[in-house]
């Protein structure tokens, strides 16, 4: 293999791939980037066996070939090199990078040792607006469970209904759901559960550029096509729990609050909350919310009183402050609505602001307050 290209071109391609490379793996080959050069197309491929990514760039090719070299070392070299043209060549699984008067060599592996990535037929893709997709994913990603005893919850449920495309994530303590009525992924007869790693990388890859994203759903896997990059991931196996059943229908006690003020107050009060439970007590009275946290370890006590809009019965509810902070971070607009029922049942949090074709809300379960 032999080619010439700009340093920036190669650096950019390698940096996109790096977050897929597993930090520690029992399979050493997975710490490598596979380079494949064919005609003028150079493909860089990485995989952790669940998520794979391919970036293709145009280079000045001189000789076709393939090799796998350590991803981190390669990335660091192209990051540090000056902005000149690079000449990259391989000889018996050794890669040599020439840049000006500098020569860098490293040993790699035969391309045959690298796991074969699934073939992607990009003809079947459904194109959707990347900005909308990214916005949906961000709204729910924080709620994905890390609990390995319930693997189905370790992903985001994509659930296409008559309402449109729904994305749902929950860890059993809180739940996030976002619906786009103008989005449908055709060929979606059934639900899929997408692991957070691929979605996290997808959001990163899209950055601020809102282009189109192509999506292909296969049996057991999903493919995202973004410009010159292709991300694939294994899908998680269901069944996903019947989340609709736990969404309360009769939460009639509504509190309307200023989001920024609430967010800042919860963050402050939480400093003195119990370090394990992060419990903050929400005491609701007529048009008033008192936040209270205590920490016995250092005799800490914090209290804030906020002016809110609330007309229902007075009520004390305990929440994990982190759950509230996470939710408020994903809530747009100036005002946030809490629809509550009792101190031991799910509360619904949503923005007072409406966006066309979009609907999202969060469920949060309380902490049982100590007597």
């Amino acid at each position: 293999m032999k080619f010439k290209t700009d340093r920036a071109n190669l650096h950019q391609a390698a940096s996109k791939l790096l977050s897929i490379v597993p930090p520690k793996s029992t399979l050493p080959i997975l710490s490598n980037i596979l380079f494949e050069l064919e005609k003028s197309k150079l493909s860089l491929k990485v995989t952790d066996l669940d998520v794979s990514m391919t970036s293709t760039i145009d280079v000045d090719a001189q000789k076709a070939g393939a090799v796998a070299v350590p991803a981190k070392v390669f990335y660091e070299i192209v990051r540090e090199l000056p902005d000149f043209e690079l000449e990259v060549s391989t000889y018996e699984n050794r890669m040599e990078i020439k840049c000006g008067a500098g020569v860098y060599k490293m040993s790699g592996f035969s391309p045959e040792d690298f796991p074969k990535l699934p073939d992607v037929h990009i003809g079947r893709q459904v194109k959707i607006d990347g900005a909308i997709l990214g916005r949906m994913v961000k709204k729910v990603l924080f709620a994905v469970s890390r609990d390995e005893t319930r693997p189905a919850l370790n992903g985001v449920l994509w659930h296409t209904t008559e309402e449109g495309l729904n994305m749902v994530a929950t860890d059993g303590h809180r739940l996030a759901k976002v619906t786009r009525s103008d989005l449908k992924i055709s060929g979606q007869g059934k639900d899929i559960i997408v692991p957070p790693k691929v979605l996290d990388n997808l959001v990163k890859l899209m950055g601020d550029e809102a282009g189109e994203v192509g999506i292909i759903v296969n049996e057991g896997s999903i493919v995202f096509v973004l410009g010159n990059s292709i991300l694939t991931s294994r899908l998680l196996e269901g069944p996903y729990p019947n989340y609709e059943q736990v969404i309360p229908k009769d939460n009639s006690k509504r509190a309307t609050m200023d989001k920024e003020i609430l967010q800042a107050a919860v963050r402050r009060v939480a400093i003195l909350s119990n370090t394990l439970t992060h419990q903050v007590k929400f005491s609701l009275k007529k048009d008033e919310l008192e936040l209270l946290a205590t920490n016995f370890d250092f005799g800490g006590e914090a209290k804030e009183i906020l002016k809110i809009n609330y007309g229902a019965d007075a009520m004390d509810i305990g929440y994990n402050a982190n759950y509230i902070i996470d939710i408020l971070r994903q809530t747009d607009g100036a005002e946030v609505l809490f629809d509550l029922n009792t101190a031991t049942t799910a509360g619904i949090v949503r923005s007072a602001e409406r966006v066309d074709n979009e609907n999202y809300f969060f469920l949060v379960m309380p902490l049982r307050l100590l007597d």
Binding site: H173, Y243, L276, N320, T344, L367, R368, L370
Partner: protein
């Protein structure tokens, strides 16, 4: 002792259970006493008096083996309720010296005597002229009121107090000033440092580290790489830095329930039922103390005495058997790999913190409410008034008393 250091005592009730038995029955005094069960039965020694220890009988010795070595010893089944009463009485005596008491287990407790009215300070009058005199008074109080002995170590940190306490046993009193403790430290085996168990001792020995002095030569990053957070702590401990405070209220660090079977079993249904029963007892105790557990461990011993255990962190702390049971089952399935009879099963709940409860979306609160309801029924009518389906058949194998099935390590299990 310079006043700018803390004054910390460790009181160790030597062979506590056996001492209580000797106090209750003076004819046993000076004779070997073994608490754990009658010699013909299965099970292990829970506590051996110092007279028995001289002949190699100690905690964990199988009862049969103990009987072979010491046929003349008094073998007693023991009564946890009496021991708890005695331990409360001991703590009451501690309370006369300082409110800062941290019981470590049911026979050992740290006392922070710094600033205690019992300690003399410049310009203040005190009952005692020296720390040693105070230590002696504490020992005398326990001896006079309860007729049992203890070893007391007094120094400037928890670590030094423990080292001091171990110097003279049983019935010792050792006071070590800060400078002297620092001077002693390098010569001591690493095992004397907090949290250094046999496994760690072995790992360190393979690295050529046998004494605290050897450990001083190991750079902090190496220890952290090898042992994580604990390596960092050992680096400090080796230099005499021990910032652990005496924390009152942290009475219970773990709660365990275990049992030895009358006959070895390979019956998974029976073993599973027993596990559930042990878990119920652990959870009942957690709820009674208003605590939740963050980790759970399962231990089993095969018929050939080889034992295996494993531990898992719960995804959220709990004191409900409904929440913890899946973890216990998974742990048991993981460690029970041999097709050999099991003679002993145990469950330990650890990382205990004051109770709180995160309500779940998909798990109904019914199992938690049910457990609390059962607690109430059992508080009135005895544990045996109501059993769950999983445990009801255990009656075929265990003796039943008002307090539920009788477990076969009566001194430790309730």
């Amino acid at each position: 002792m310079p006043t700018n250091h803390r004054i910390i005592a460790l009181v160790d009730m030597n062979a506590f259970l056996a001492s209580v038995e000797q106090a209750l029955n003076p004819s046993l005094r000076g004779k070997p006493v073994v608490v754990g069960g009658e010699p013909g039965t299965r099970g292990i020694v829970i506590c051996a008096s110092y007279e028995a220890r001289k002949l190699g009988v100690r905690f964990g010795t199988p009862l049969a083996e103990a009987y072979r070595r010491l046929p003349t010893a008094a073998f007693l089944r023991g009564d946890i309720k009496i021991y708890i009463d005695y331990w409360r009485a001991v703590q009451e005596i501690f309370g006369a010296y300082t409110p800062q008491i941290e019981p470590v287990s049911m026979d050992e407790g740290y006392l922070d005597l710094t600033g205690s009215p019992a300690i003399s300070k410049a310009g203040c009058r005190s009952r005692f002229k020296s720390v040693r005199e105070l230590g002696q008074a504490l020992k005398d109080d326990i001896r006079n009121r309860l007729d049992i002995g203890c070893s007391v170590g007094i120094s400037t940190t928890k670590m030094f107090a423990k080292i001091a306490c171990n110097i003279r046993k049983p019935d010792g009193l050792t006071v070590i000033g800060h400078e002297r403790a620092l001077a002693m430290l390098p010569g001591l085996p690493v095992r004397k440092l907090p949290n250094v168990g046999r496994k760690i001792e072995k790992t360190l020995a393979e690295l050529g580290v046998h004494t605290v002095g050897d450990l001083l030569k190991v750079p902090r990053p190496v220890l952290v790489e090898l042992f994580g957070v604990r390596g960092n702590e050992w680096h400090d401990y080796a230099r005499g830095i021990d910032k652990r405070e005496v924390r009152p209220g942290l009475h219970q660090k773990t709660i365990s329930r275990e049992t030895t079977f009358n006959a070895d079993s390979v019956d998974r249904e029976f073993l599973g039922g027993t596990l559930y029963y042990l878990l119920e007892r652990v959870c009942q105790k957690l709820r009674e103390l208003n605590l939740v557990a963050g980790r759970v461990a399962v231990k089993l011993r095969y018929v050939d005495y080889s034992s295996v255990d494993d531990v898992r962190t719960l995804d959220f702390p709990s004191n409900s058997e409904g929440d913890i049971h899946p973890y216990v089952t998974a742990l048991f399935d993981k460690i029970y790999t041999r097709k050999t009879g099991v003679r002993h099963l145990g469950i330990t709940a650890a990382n205990l913190t004051p109770a709180f409860r995160q309500i779940q979306l998909f798990t109904s609160e019914k199992s938690f409410d049910l457990a609390r309801g059962l607690d109430k029924v059992r508080a009135h009518l005895g544990y045996h008034a109501i059993y769950t389906g999983r445990t009801v058949r255990l009656g075929d194998k265990f003796r039943e008393v008002v307090d539920g099935y009788e477990l076969r390590t009566p001194s430790l299990s309730q």
